[in-house]
Amino acid sequence: MAVDAKQLAAERAARLKAAVELKEPDRVPFTGIGGDVIAAYAGITSYEFNFDYEKQCQAIIKYVKDFPSDQPVIGMTGLGNHVASMAFSDYPDLYPIISRVDGPTNDILGVDYCRFPGRELDENSSPQFIGREYMSAEEYDELIADPVKFCFEKILPRIVRAFRDMKAPEAHAAMARLALEKAKAGAAMRDMFRQLQELGYAPGGLSVFFAPLDFIGDQLRDIPNLIKDLRRYPDKVKAATEAVLEPLLKVSVNAKGPGVETAMIPLHLNEYLSPALYNEFYWPTLKEGILRLAELGMKSQVFFEGRHDAHLETILELPAGWGTAYFEKTDVRKAKKLLQGHTCIMGGIDVGMVISSTPAKLDEYIKEILGEMMPGGGFILAPNIGNLPRETPIENIRAVYEAVEKYGKY
């Protein structure tokens, strides 16, 4: 890394760190905004972006060069493979191989809930996740008894077509092919990180953790079923959240490495639940997860999807400086009033505006939000949703970055 690239990387990292530590950095840290638009900007299809490592890498580098921020926007490549991550949680070295499903991986595995552009979908679509009921209500006891074994023996064969029969040659062949494919992908990734380093970004990324109830809702029972389970089998559901906590933590730690010291925790059921249900079934194991991650040397970045307004106060139960609260529809100004001095707040840019507004209005909008959110520090500017569609007007994206440059100095 050239000296100035190194210095730039250090400055960027320091900015983000200061905000998480509730201080005022030199400038407001800005995560950047990427997503599907990265491929469009490079003139390639979403299919190419999802299946061709080299084109993907070139597209990202081009975008990051033209739109620099404090974190490289790597885009949304692939979907999580969370049941497999849990099934293999005792093998940390396999984490990079089984934790994500991208285009080529899906060709090998055939993951039931994944659909990719250029395969099942139009070549310019986003990849899709369509979950179903993979576990029946009768199976709670098995899940509770041994979640890792249960995920491996029962759920994985239902989700991954190549693993339908773990004793069949097909499954072993898929595993071997997966390793070969990921070696190729790994080389491309290393090349990308090298180029990113030259642009002043330290290598790194985010680990991931799930609220135990979300893991059960998204990956196993399907959300509407789970909501009914809360009333029909409350004790089993609660026991299940406690049972999956440990292996979920293990998976999260498996992803830890140089530059990977933060766990992203995207919340799904928060908006669905009444405070009573949230406090009984959701928050206890999520809170414990956050505290345990801290003991294991990781900060949490919780993405409070949807409206979290009804549960905001519970965040104060965590120790000050615990990590970052990233908001989608909850008004960050309102959150700041409650959380200032206790929790770093992230968000602030309504992606809908970036898509449909004008450069002049966006300039005004960013000025206003920064004016309100920067004072006192502990704020990271980010889009409320990390995915700009292909059609996003480039002049609008440019306007956002320029406005951050103009108004982001402390």
Binding site: Q128, R231, L273, S274, A310, S356, N387
Partner: protein
């Protein structure tokens, strides 16, 4: 018994509500009474949701209770005159596969007396057009939760226009990604990001409120 049914339904006491409904439905004129009471209960649940006292967990549970009760009530209504406020074709737009919000809205709309034709998720533009031609609805409902769905809605409405069907229908959009600005951008007639408001506006569009 109607009072008890209403109360246990609104209080989310599933077992009790289903038990009373089963009993009531066997009495003279009981099926109509069950239907009316459950509609009233759904409306009350919607009000509590709009007031911030109930959450999505309650809407889902209420929808499920409603469906359970209707399963044994509707067959008993054969021959009875069930007033319909009008017909709506409803789907999640192309590229978007979220269905929970749409399904909640659907039950609430049905409970309010709207006849809903659900055409599913990730619905291509042409499929909306075909469904409009086939079912001749007064209303079309589009659900959209992802940003990419915004352009999908816009294109769907254009295709409906090109087919010469736009003037025959009113279009209401819903889901997490909609707003006044999105409504204007795509050219719809109304928007709602919560089901209770969506039902209210749908009735207004039908001229029934």
């Amino acid at each position: 018994m109607r009072e008890e049914l209403l109360r246990s339904f609104v209080d989310m006491d599933e077992q009790e509500a289903v038990r009373i409904a089963r009993e009531l439905v066997e009495t003279e004129g009981g099926a109509v009474a069950v239907l009316d009471t459950c509609k009233e209960a759904m409306e009350e649940v919607g009000r509590l949701f709009e007031a911030g006292e109930y959450f999505l967990s309650e809407l889902i549970a209420a929808g499920d209770m409603f469906n359970q009760i209707m399963e044994f009530t509707l067959p008993k209504l054969q021959g009875e005159e069930v007033a319909s406020l009008g017909t709506m074709v409803l789907g999640t737009v192309q590229g978007d596969v979220h269905n929970i919000g749409k399904d909640i809205f659907k039950v609430m709309a049905e409970a309010s007396g709207i006849n809903v034709i659900d055409i599913g998720i990730d619905v291509p533009h042409e499929k909306f057009v075909e469904a409009i031609k086939e079912h001749k609805p007064e209303l079309v409902g589009m659900c959209c939760l992802i940003t990419l769905g915004v352009d999908s809605m816009k294109r769907t409405i254009e295709v409906i226009k090109e087919a010469g069907l736009r003037d025959d229908i009113k279009i209401i959009i819903g889901g997490g990604r909609v707003s006044q600005a999105v409504m204007e951008h795509v050219g719809a007639d109304a928007w709602a990001d919560d089901a209770a408001r969506g039902v209210r506006l749908s009735k207004e569009l039908l001229g029934k409120e």
